[in-house]
């Protein structure tokens, strides 16, 4: 009589197993119902298509098209042309490639390093945490763009340098988020239980604790991608991006912002809007992911 805690297997099997699947399906259903998520995905997909296909789908050649310079938007050139007569629409479409190649990689690397550092800080505590926390805080006090610009000018302009610099700047921010998530986990009894059976710290950190803090890490990743787009565009605006003929958005804005005074607003407005739309799209997605994650 003492064993009867469960019903006959048949009676409970179906509801329990399907409950988890159902929860996942319903999370997906919930996120799809959010207009913000749909809008974000549509905008992001548009830029991804542009980045992948590049000049194959642009109406004109983004680098070499000699129409009249500074033609205002019209049927043939909906976004007008720039000082050298290149089609702004084609350049904006092709310009998605650089930023979409660099920003996600930079964000991902930043999150990976941040997770490793934050996990060690939160789990090991003690002197390591004290020292690392001070370093992280001092990093957070530095002006991001200034440091990035300094690093790129000293280390060279390659996209790997930009990726490395942005990743390094994001690491402390991510580490702090992960640290606080890990602090809540390390005092749970499953960690004690792992210690009681003699697991190593490395095992406990990355096999036991890590899966339980994936929620905030995923949210952090989506948020970081948005920031990375912004930072990469800022860097190329300041001249640390790819060199001139490239249709990169930041570079376009920086090349043409002098001509606003002469009334040629379209040469700056459209690339700037492209940057804004991509940042907003990523943030819309990040917000939706976050609120659905928090709800479940």
């Amino acid at each position: 009589m003492s064993e009867v805690l469960t019903l006959a297997p048949d009676a409970t099997e179906a509801p329990i197993v399907s409950e988890r699947k159902q929860a996942r399906r319903e999370n997906w259903r919930l996120i799809r119902k959010r207009p913000a998520f749909i809008i974000g995905i549509v905008i992001l997909s548009f830029w991804v298509v542009c980045a992948v296909l590049g000049s194959a789908i642009t109406p004109h050649d983004p680098l070499d098209f000699r129409a009249g310079s500074h033609l205002s938007p019209r049927a043939e050139f909906p976004f007008g042309t720039d000082a050298t007569g290149r089609d702004v629409l084609s350049r904006v479409m092709a310009g998605a490639r650089d930023v979409l190649r660099i920003a996600p990689v930079a964000a991902l690397l930043g999150v990976i390093f941040g997770v490793i550092l934050g996990m060690m800080m939160g789990y090991l505590r003690g002197w390591f945490d004290t020292i690392a926390s001070r370093i992280v805080e001092s990093f957070l006090a530095l002006p991001v763009v200034l440091i990035a610009l300094l690093a790129v000018t000293t280390l060279g302009r390659s996209s790997w340098v930009v990726i490395g610099v942005v990743a390094a700047l994001f690491t402390p921010v991510v580490a702090r988020t992960v640290r606080s998530a890990v602090l809540a986990e390390r005092d749970l009894d499953y960690v004690t239980s792992a210690k009681l059976r003699g697991e190593s710290n490395l095992f406990i950190m990355f096999r036991e604790v890590l899966p339980n803090v994936m929620g905030p890490i995923i949210v952090e990743l989506t948020v970081r991608v948005g920031y990375a787009v912004f930072t990469v565009a800022t860097l190329s605006f300041l001249g640390a991006g790819p060199p001139p003929p490239s249709p990169d958005w930041g570079a376009q804005v920086s090349e043409n912002y002098n001509s606003i005074i002469s009334g040629f607003w379209w040469t700056v407005f459209f690339p700037a809007m492209a940057i804004a739309s991509l940042v907003i799209a990523v943030n819309l997605i990040a917000d939706s992911v976050q609120s659905v994650m928090e709800a479940s």
């Binding site: 003492s2 297997p9 509801p15 239980s193």
Partner: protein, 696 residues
Amino acid sequence: MSSTTHSVESGAGALATIPAALAVEGLEVAYTVRGIDRAVLRGVSFSIAPGETFGLVGESGCGKSTSAYAALRYLPSNGKILKGRVMVDGNDVTKMTTDELQRFRAKDASMVYQDPAQAMNPTLRVGRQLIESFTLLGQSKQEALSSALEALRKVRIADPARVMDRYPFQLSGGMQQRVVIAMALACDPKLLVLDEPTTGLDATVEAEVLDLVRVLSQESGCAVLLIAHNLGIIRALCDRVGVMYAGKIVEQGPSSQVFDDPQHPYTVGLLRSLPRHGVRKTERALTTIPGILPLIGTSLPTCVFLDRCPIASDTCRTVEPPFVAVGFAGASGVTGERFTRCHHPERIKEMKEEVTQVPISVLAPSETQPNVLELSHVSKTFRQRSVSVPALVDVELGLSEGETLGIVGESGSGKSTLAKAMLGIETVDAGGVVSMGGTAVPSPTGSRSAENKRSMQMVFQNPDSALNRSWSVRRILMRSVEKLTGVKGDEANKRVEALAAHLRLTPRHLDLKPRQLSGGLKQRVAIARAFAGDPRIVVCDEPTSALDVSVQAAILNLLADLQAEQKTSYVFITHDMGVVRYLADRIAVMYLGRIQEVGDTDDVFNGPNHPYTEALLSAIPSVDGEEKVRIRLEGEIPSPANPPTGCVFHPRCPRAIAGVCEVTEPPLREVSPGHSMRCHIPIETLIELQRKPMQR
């Protein structure tokens, strides 16, 4: 619901001559989870007369808290009232506008929650918060101040001015709950709702808070709705009780009658699963209720209890049982006070209490073999900044093979620190020795040999925290088997399956994640993990306190079975005297890090006792309603950082000898074979004193 049911239910209210302070009629509530409405209350009706105390009991998830929240319209944003009325003083709470509702909550009803710390603003002094509850009623600052002092005096706080000047965190849990009750009574409410008001408190404090509630409700004449899962509390405090199951009240009536002569199979099951009347594991296994509580929102059969009912008939399967009036066995016929939602109340008698288990043979502690675990001169001092806080002081304990040592004491007594010291999670102070099988073992755990790790494992209080929620059950068990026994691959898998089968987990459970399991199943997984390497000693830290009573019974049975088979020794930490009496062979009572009394379970329960043990035993609210003389302890547990001089218990001890107890600390001395206590009072005097009930 059938029309006959309705007439009976409304009849229950009509019988009362005075209009009810609260009348809940046919309340149906659902929570929206991921876009789908899930029914929680399925037609709940009860009424409370002014000055009456009504209790709602039932296991978690049966809807008792939801009933209370719905009555004050405090439901969370995803909860909604689908049907029914809540009448307070002739007004329907469910139809009130926001303004009316605000006025109703300010003037007519108050609520006290489980955690008093969360009910107060941590950044404001107690006085300011209390004064605010009076100024809200329109009193001037001066009036409010004197009202606040008066309110604190009313909840038996001796020095109100000092308490007013403190921040909530500077008060103990019991003191906080008193302040919260004082706030709740500020508006002189017609209805006071208490949601598990003493669950987080220690037994001696709990008893005092319950006394206070009893006295205050009599003084003020307000109606009290008490939600509790502890049947003893309900019995001690409530005039009438409603037993809830799956969103319905299945039985209702005067609490003494309901508990002495239950008329619904669920109530019968609930009462039988408690370890009562001093039953021991050597006598019989505890009775459990087969099956599990239906999940919230699932569609239910005609009778909500059908699947788990041992006396269900064909009628039960086809016709929904009405809520019928029943008579009390002792009284003549139907009294109009008792109702059960059952077709066959007359067949309750047929539910025999089965004694299915052969009594477990207890191993006689052998004199020749060394203890499996021994602690000698174990102390543990924590350092907080420059202050040293002794959490354990000179603990001497032995544990023989197959023995269960119960460790009891209030929070802060050092029970958990003792467990951690045994396991090597905490290193002990120099001079203390923890030895297993006669050889000293080092701490921390990491420095112990694989064999030592394998031999001593732990079962934690809260399985949600103890099981890695992103691992499957199979992975959890597999890892422990591999790590503790060294076997790998197929062989390890076979062991996992054997282990699971042993703990009565089906193979299907192995592939689930912990959160897909019920509380009892989770605790089984945690126990299986502890038993993965055939341990000699298992430390159980309140393993059933997070579980419902029927599940608790199953887990206690399981632990007793495993022990009988494998001769495992248990260190069983608990605050539940009934549980420890059932399972333990010996009991150690701790206070401020010191063992105050240790002896065989019978010795500890029959006395003579250390005065602290005596107070602890007298504080437990009994579900049997036996008359007990409560021994009140003055004051609170002192801070371990600054323990009292002499006997650490003397400031609160009702039997302290002036001039002796505050000067020297008594040694732990043996009063009869195997029974020791730390007290200056000669044993003959204690026997004499405890024979006669103490004067209140």
